[in-house]
Symmetry: C2
């Protein structure tokens, strides 16, 4: 951030009076520009004993498989975001169920939520950000080609718990794998990554 | 948003190619400035059969009682945010437990999370944003002077479930009360409100 989005003057990075962290503050109109973590919301779309995955048509992780998910938009709820992303990426209509996982991803200032979801019909297709969308049984899941750690861990928990028929709610952190740091895309504007 | 925070040129509100919502887009450097919901994170600090509330020293709801809570910061996890806010507002050290409530507050583009929390000692005091901090038994809770709907509903659920000894996880929406709309503070930069 170089300029004030309100008045267009230069901003400085400094800690406002009474605050404890440096912020971008406008030198002219004194607006304080806070930056906060972003929510990434997705679903686990179920049809019979299968779940729906999308092969990504965009970076990062182009060509890898993901649960449908994306940045939450203003003025919506978390289940609405999950249903919207599922429709946009997989052209599938779902009824959103319980929140299943919450992953903190602090090194990229994101929080990822995944909801369980029931497909209303076995209809789906590749949305604009997907190369391909398919239903997978547990044995068919392409574990070596899963896009993100939060998706992989959500799927691992889901298949482990499905055997018992009892699904909990899981909250955990995802930390960077040091030798993969170069892969991390730190632009938090558009695409979600770990 | 009037100016590009990257290059300082004017921005226009328009829907980028491949997108479905209008965004602030820079006319010169073409940066797309996304705006997304903010997370407000708090705790329910417990000491024996009492919980800790803070009387707000800031607007909105100056003078009303709240659970310690505030905007999540970049580079932290949700439990870290809950512990930090509890220390800043109530000078209390807590061990953060399970996530207890998630409230969608779409009319102000916020998501509120409250964690259960165990006070490590019965030590507390008024932080900079609090007039007063006190431990309350259930009978003492000032229900008519609670600051926000998400705090009130979290406390109602907490005391109802404490009787059974079994705490669930609760996710719900908070919608505006029409005749109180004038009270809603829509500046999402600093203070959280419903």
């Amino acid at each position: 951030m170089n300029y004030c989005s309100h008045c267009g003057a230069k901003v400085s990075l400094r800690t406002p009076a009474g605050d404890h962290l440096p912020r971008h503050v406008c030198d002219v109109c004194h607006t304080i520009h806070y930056q906060n973590p972003k929510l990434v919301i997705g679903s686990i779309p179920e049809w019979e004993d299968k779940i729906l995955l999308c092969r990504r048509a965009i970076e990062p992780r182009h060509g890898f498989w993901t649960l449908p998910a994306g940045f939450m938009e203003n003025s919506e709820t978390t289940p609405q975001a999950a249903a919207r992303e599922t429709y946009e990426e997989a052209l599938a209509e779902v009824e959103i169920g319980a929140l299943y996982t919450l992953f903190n991803v602090p090194h990229i200032s994101q929080v990822h939520l995944f909801f369980r979801a029931r497909m209303l019909q076995p209809n789906f297709g590749a949305g604009q950000e997907s190369l391909e969308v398919r239903l997978f049984s547990e044995a068919e899941v392409p574990w070596d080609e899963i896009s993100f750690a939060s998706v992989r861990r959500t799927l691992q928990l889901y298949f482990a718990e499905r055997k018992s028929g009892i699904f909990g709610f899981h909250l955990d952190d995802i930390r960077p794998v040091p030798d993969q740091l170069a892969l991390y895309h730190t632009d938090n504007q558009r695409n979600f990554v770990e």
